[in-house]
C-alpha cells in the first residue's frame, strides 16, 4: 500500500491509551500482551493490557490473525444420503492489529502476495479487508534483529495504516493510508500537531538501529548466485545441524505454507487448513513414495532459497523481513543470515557447481 499524506500528531502515553480505548469501542483490537511471562499478540479487552514500547517483539508474529493456525475452509454434512456444503462465515467486525513491528507489517504484505494474487483466498481476503494495521517503529534492535541487513527498516511504512514512532517520551503518530486516517479522524483531545522536524527524526532512528545490527547485508545480487549454486555441496554442511523441527517456519511472519485435511465422521466434517512447513519430510512426499526433497539438506535449502533466491521479479523484496525470530528460537542455533553469507561465499570461491 502506497504511503499517502495523512495527519501527523504527537501523543503522550496517556493520550495514546485514550486513543486505544476509543478504538476498542468499535473494533476488535489485537495487541502485544504478557501471558505466562511471554509477550504474545492477543485480542485485548482493555487498553491498559497492551504492551506498547520503543523496542522488543512478540514471541510469534501477528500473522495468525489473518492466516489462523487452523481453520475450516468449508463444512459438510451428510443428510439422507445427500451432501451439503457450507462456507464458513467471514468476519464482520473490524480488526485493528496494534503495535505491530515494521518487519511484521511487511510480513503481512508478503502474505498478501501469496493469498491475494491470482485466485484469491476468500477467508484471507475478507479478514485483510477488515483489518487495519497500526505499527510501532523500533528505536532499538533486539540481539536477533536484522531487518536493515535484508532491505527492510525499523521505521518502515510498508503494510502500515498508522505508524507510531517513539520520540523522547512521546509518540509520533502518522496516518499513512485512508484506512489509517479513518482510525485517527480529527485527532483526540489535546493532541499536538506534529511538525516537519518531528518527521525528519525517522532517518536518524533508522541509522541508529542499523548501527546495532552487526550482520549482513544480504545483497540483491546474491539471489542469482544462490539459484545458480542450487547443487553446491555447501548445503550438506550448512544444513547439518538442522533438526527439522520447523519452528523457523512457524514463527516466521512471511511463511505461508499450509496443509489441507478432512476432519470428520459419518455425519459431518470440515475441510481444514493448518500451518505447514517446507522443512517437514512429508510436505513434498508423493503418494507413489517418490519425494523430491527426501533429505533435510534439500528441505533447508528450499526454505532459505524461497526467502532469498526464488523470486518471480528480480526487484521484489526478499521474502525474509529480518525479524530474527527463527534465529532466536532455533534449537540448533542456525542463523539464516550467516547461512546465506556462507553459502554465497562458498559458491563464489569454489564455483557454483562445486561439490563443497
Amino acid at each position: 500500500m502506497k504511503s499517502v499524506k495523512g495527519s501527523s500528531w504527537k501523543l503522550t502515553e496517556a493520550q495514546l491509551r485514550e486513543w486505544l480505548r476509543g478504538l476498542l469501542e468499535e473494533n476488535h483490537v489485537v495487541a502485544p500482551v504478557e501471558e505466562d511471562g511471554v509477550v504474545l499478540f492477543r485480542r485485548i479487552a482493555s487498553a491498559d493490557d497492551a504492551i506498547v514500547e520503543a523496542s522488543g517483539k512478540t514471541r510469534w508474529s501477528p500473522k495468525e490473525f489473518l492466516f489462523p493456525r487452523t481453520e475450516a475452509l468449508y463444512r459438510y454434512t451428510f443428510a439422507g444420503g445427500a451432501v451439503q456444503i457450507e462456507d464458513p462465515p467471514v468476519p464482520e467486525k473490524h480488526q485493528v492489529l496494534f503495535a505491530v513491528r515494521s518487519c511484521d507489517a511487511s510480513g503481512l504484505v508478503r502474505l498478501d502476495e501469496i493469498f491475494l494474487s491470482g485466485t484469491k483466498d476468500l477467508l484471507y481476503a475478507a479478514r485483510r479487508e477488515n483489518t487495519s494495521v497500526v505499527t510501532a517503529a523500533c528505536a532499538a534492535a533486539d540481539p536477533e534483529c536484522f531487518c536493515t541487513a535484508v532491505g527492510y527498516s525499523p521505521v518502515g511504512e510498508e503494510g502500515s495504516d498508522v505508524q507510531l514512532v517513539p520520540l523522547d517520551g512521546v509518540w509520533l503518530l502518522r496516518a499513512l493510508t485512508d484506512k489509517g486516517q479513518a482510525l485517527v479522524g480529527d485527532g483526540g483531545e489535546g493532541w499536538k500537531k506534529a511538525t516537519a522536524a518531528d518527521g525528519k527524526t525517522l532517518p536518524a532512528i533508522e541509522k541508529k538501529v542499523a548501527g546495532q545490527i552487526d550482520r549482513g547485508p544480504v545483497n540483491q545480487e546474491w539471489s542469482q548466485v544462490l539459484e545458480d549454486g542450487f547443487e553446491h555441496g555447501a548445503w550438506d554442511r550448512l544444513a547439518q545441524h538442522c533438526l527439522g523441527c520447523s519452528v523457523c517456519a512457524y514463527v516466521c511472519p512471511s511463511c505461508s505454507c499450509f496443509d489441507m485435511n478432512h476432519q470428520g465422521n459419518a455425519w459431518c466434517g470440515e475441510q481444514c487448513r493448518s500451518w505447514d512447513a517446507c522443512t517437514f519430510p512429508l510436505f513434498t512426499h508423493h503418494a507413489s513414495g517418490h519425494n523430491p526433497r527426501a533429505t533435510k539438506q534439500q528441505r533447508y535449502r528450499q526454505r532459505v532459497l524461497h526467502k532469498f533466491a526464488f523470486r518471480e521479479e528480480g526487484d521484489q523484496p526478499f521474502r525474509c523481513v529480518g525479524c530474527g525470530r527463527c534465529v532466536a528460537q532455533c534449537p540448533a542455533g542456525l542463523d539464516i543470515v550467516n547461512t546465506v553469507a556462507a553459502a554465497v561465499e562458498a559458491m563464489r570461491e569454489e564455483g557454483v557447481d562445486a561439490a563443497g
Partner: protein, 291 residues
C-alpha cells in the same frame, strides 16, 4: 462491493455423481462423473487437455487427478451435460476411500487448474505420446482431442508402457484409437512383465521409443511418467536428435490447494499447480532438479 463479497471460496467443491467406472487394472480405476446440480453444470466452463482437478471424498480428503477425457468446451459441438473422467491408482487414504465408492455416490470436484497442452500449436505436426503407467492418464485428454480432430494433425503414435501386462491402463479402449487412420498404438511392458500370449513389445519405454526410429523432423513428443522414466527418456530424445523445444511433459508434484498458495509443489520459483503442470523440456532445463 466489498472484496469479500466479490471473492468466491476457491475451496468450495462442486458435487459430482459417479455415473460409471472402468477398472483398468487391479488398482487403477477410471471414473465417469456428472454434476449433481444442473445450474453448476450450466456454469461449468470446461477445460483444456493437461489441466487437472481436485477430487474430494468427503471425510477422507482431496486428491489431484488429471481431467482425462476429451476436453469439454462449452462452445463446442456438444449439447450434452459436461462429463468429467479421471483415472486414479489406489495408493493412499483418499484413493482407497474413492475406490470403495459405488455408482450413484457423490464426490466433490474443484477445478480445472493449471495450464494446458498447447494442442492448437501442434496443428500440422506429427505427434508421439509416451505414457509410463498411470502417466497415460495425464495424456489421455490431449490424445483423445487430437484423435477426434485427426485431420488437423500429422501422424499420431501412442506409446503405452507398463510394468507388466496386468498393469497396462486403457487396454479396452486402445483398439478404438487405432481404428482412426494415421494413429498407431505401441504397447510395451518392462522386461519380465510379459505373459506367454503377450503380442506387444518388451522393453523399457526409452529403448522402445528409440527402436521406433521416428524422424524428429516436424514432430512433437508429449511424455508423462515417473521421474526416472523421464530422465532416461530425455537422454534418448537428445541422442536421436530432438530439441528440448519439441518435447512437452507434465510435472506431477505433490499438490494440495491447486491455486499456487499452499507452497508444496514449488520447483524453484515455479509453482507446478499455478505455472504448470505442462512444461517443455526446454523450460524444465531452466528449473532446479527438484521434482
Amino acid at each position: 462491493m466489498p472484496l469479500a463479497d466479490a471473492v468466491p471460496n476457491p475451496y468450495h467443491p462442486s458435487l459430482m455423481r459417479i455415473q460409471d467406472y472402468t477398472d483398468e487394472t487391479a488398482d487403477v480405476r477410471t471414473l465417469k462423473l456428472q454434476f449433481v446440480d444442473d445450474a453448476e453444470a450450466g456454469e461449468f466452463t470446461g477445460w483444456e487437455p493437461g489441466q487437472f482437478g481436485q477430487f474430494t471424498v468427503f471425510g477422507a480428503g482431496e486428491s489431484v487427478f488429471a481431467l482425462a477425457n476429451a476436453p469439454w468446451r462449452p462452445n463446442g459441438d456438444r449439447d450434452l451435460a459436461p462429463t468429467i473422467e479421471c483415472t486414479f491408482r489406489m495408493v493412499g487414504k483418499v484413493t482407497s476411500a474413492l475406490r470403495a465408492m459405488s455408482k450413484g455416490q457423490v464426490i466433490g470436484f474443484r477445478g480445472p487448474y493449471g495450464n494446458h497442452f498447447p494442442v492448437d500449436d501442434w496443428k500440422g505436426r506429427h505427434l508421439v505420446f509416451i505414457g509410463g503407467g498411470i502417466g497415460m492418464a495425464a495424456l489421455r485428454s490431449a490424445m483423445l482431442d487430437v484423435i477426434n480432430r485427426k485431420s488437423e494433425f500429422g501422424d499420431i503414435v501412442i506409446l503405452n508402457g507398463a510394468r507388466s501386462v496386468a498393469d497396462m491402463v486403457y487396454s479396452d479402449e486402445m483398439p478404438s484409437w487405432e481404428q482412426v487412420d494415421g494413429v498407431e498404438v505401441v504397447r510395451t511392458v518392462d522386461p519380465g512383465g510379459e505373459t506367454e500370449d503377450w503380442d506387444g513389445q518388451v522393453g523399457l519405454l526409452p529403448n522402445v521409443f528409440e527402436g521406433l526410429g521416428l524422424d524428429p523432423e516436424n514432430r512433437i513428443v508429449i511424455a508423462c511418467g515417473p521421474p526416472i522414466m523421464l530422465h532416461y527418456l530425455f537422454l534418448s530424445l537428445g541422442k536421436v536428435g530432438y530439441s528440448p523445444e519439441q518435447v512437452v511433459t507434465t510435472l506431477e508434484n505433490k499438490m494440495k490447494c491447486g491455486i499456487g498458495h499452499c507452497g508444496r509443489c514449488y520447483v524453484g520459483p515455479f509453482s507446478v499447480c499455478r505455472d504448470g503442470p505442462v512444461v517443455t523440456w526446454a523450460e524444465l532445463n531452466q528449473l532446479p532438479e527438484d521434482y
